[in-house]
Amino acid sequence: MRSESVRTKRKKRHWTKNDTELSILALPTTVWYILFCFLPMFGLVIAFKNYKITGGKSFIYNVIHSEWAGFKNFEFLIKSNDLYIILRNTILYNLTFIVLGMVLSVGMAIMISLLHNKRKSKVYQTLMFFPYFMSWVVVAYFLDAFLNQSNGLVNGMIRDAGNTPIQWYMKAGLWPFILIFMYLWKSTGYNMIIYLSSITGIDTTLYEAAVVDGANKRQQVWYITLPCLKNVIIMMFILNVGKIFYSDFGLFYQLSQGASGSIFNATATIDTYVFNALQSATPIGMTSAATFFQSVACCITILVANAIVKKIDEDSAII
């Protein structure tokens, strides 16, 4: 009965002055979305074209008048040796970041919530949050100050000890550790605060009840805090998995100074590859194939991750 009346009510609704006004309010942002989000989506068609720029003609003209290339661009990409490396790096780094980042920031959030002195805890939070606000350009300067070949602090100490300095920017084997460390350094404080804010939102009566039942602190963390954090953890997990084919561009590009030369194998990801290709003479269609793959793969992973989570726990899904 009720739903029927709602439906008839909906049917009766006509376009009103109110709707016109709201449409006008929504218009600027809608235009922004069309120009900066939806047009590039259609621009993905370049991946299937032999894109050529004709001087003086508009972008749309160029797209329409470029020949279709079928899957040629993708063939090129698959045949190049780089594809395997950049794909492997992107996925493995992201998996490491997701797992280590989550363990570290959840652990730290729980630890900081247990500290006796709340003022100290505020100070720690403030200091740990700080790296999040530095750009990767600045962080690259930090790293340079420590690892610089001739002037860096670490090499200075090595020299003082009488050993030969290490050429940090040439040693591929060291870069996974450096990149993972820097990622954690920059993001842990931020993520910790996300988890901490949901820890402080947990109903304190739960803990009181646990104390009455004789649970010690460790059991409380295990049986109350962690289960209560489950939803946030899952949400963050979906968000991160959804970005698994993207890389934190600044991290890989700035810190390794463009992923050039000898450390390419350890630091190149899809994004740095595309960016470098964009700056060089690589045909635009071919790099576009890489981003096409990236967009589609990400869309699929986020939907799949969400679907899996929905199966396990309806409320945790984000879509």
Binding site: I112, H116, T126, F129, L153, G242
Partner: protein
């Protein structure tokens, strides 16, 4: 005494971790917190070390001699720095204002449940969260369709709106502005624009502060748009300039065979200390403002974590 009082205040005084564990955690956090802040201190020390002591010993925490030459150098020769600072400030201010306007407008419209095109607008905001055109097609569209190459708008427009912020806005408006208030305003003859400007915005100061701060830091720290779209050095922001300097130094370090012209070029580059002084100039505004705004960020994060 102070500690006792604090302990009494907390609801479960008996239910705390043991003193030893607390001390252990404190040590861990002290170390981590120091790790987060020491690089900044280190860079600052380098920037006030004398050029000689850098040449002799490299970067050290305790240099042989201090000097403020680097800063003097930047002030004297730093026309470009001052210009870049201007660009950074301009981009940050214009971008933040525009971004807040566009974000809150869309958020407000989405929060009105009686709007006829609400489903359509939700899709417009929601789809880009899952699927996007990627770097190349954005680049092609922005340069060839919108002609943003070497334009200051290339630094501002692409970063204006994020779906995440729009959804935070929508959730906030929905939970904080009762429908009855808006209905009564409508009965009094107010248009939606008046309601938005006179009711919704004044009631949402914490929200606007949060989004404005996110945008401000985003714009201030952005170097990527510059590296894609800007080749004219007159349009370099501070971050872009810093990036440019570092990249050139690295290039020369990697190609020692480039010869005399490169050597000359290197001599014209800022000295070691001056590079670090530039980095400090970027950090200082953030370091000064962010502790005051931290609570807004945290409340913003919490709002964002709530499912809309």
């Amino acid at each position: 005494m102070g500690k006792n009082k604090e302990a009494e205040n907390s609801a479960s005084r008996l239910n705390m971790i043991a003193g030893k564990t607390n001390a252990f955690f404190n040590i861990i956090f002290t170390i981590v917190a120091l790790m987060c802040i020491i690089p900044v201190v280190f860079i600052f020390i380098i920037s006030i070390s004398s050029e000689q002591s850098i040449k002799m010993n490299g970067y050290r925490f305790i240099p042989e001699a201090f000097s403020i030459d680097s800063y003097l150098f930047l002030f004297r020769e730093g026309e470009m720095i001052v210009h870049a600072l201007g660009i950074s400030i301009l981009v940050t201010v214009v971008g933040t204002v525009l971004g807040v306007a566009l974000t809150t407008l869309m958020g407000y419209v989405l929060s009105r449940s009686d709007y006829k095109l609400k489903g359509f607008c939700t899709m417009i905001v929601f789809i880009p969260m899952i699927f996007n055109g990627g770097m190349i097609s954005s680049y092609v569209v922005n340069t060839q369709f919108m002609h943003l190459k070497d334009s200051i708008w290339a630094l501002i427009l692409p970063l204006c709106v994020s779906s995440f912020n729009v959804i935070i806005c929508k959730t906030f408006f929905k939970t904080n502005i009762p429908d009855s208030v808006i209905e009564s305003a409508q009965i009094d003859g107010a248009s939606q624009l008046t309601i938005f400007g006179k009711i919704a915005i004044p009631l949402s100061k914490p929200l606007i502060a949060t989004i404005a701060l996110f945008l401000t830091f985003g714009y201030w720290n952005d170097w990527f748009q510059s590296s894609l779209y800007i080749t004219n050095t007159k349009l370099f922001s501070l971050q872009a300039l810093l990036d440019h300097v570092q990249r050139n130094i690295q290039m020369m370090a990697n190609n020692p065979t480039l010869g005399v012209t490169m050597q000359q070029y290197m001599n014209s580059m800022p000295k070691e200390g001056a590079r670090m002084a530039m980095a400090i100039i970027i950090i200082v505004p953030i370091a000064c403002t962010y502790p005051f705004f931290q609570k807004y960020f945290i409340s913003g994060l919490t709002v964002g974590a709530v499912k809309g």
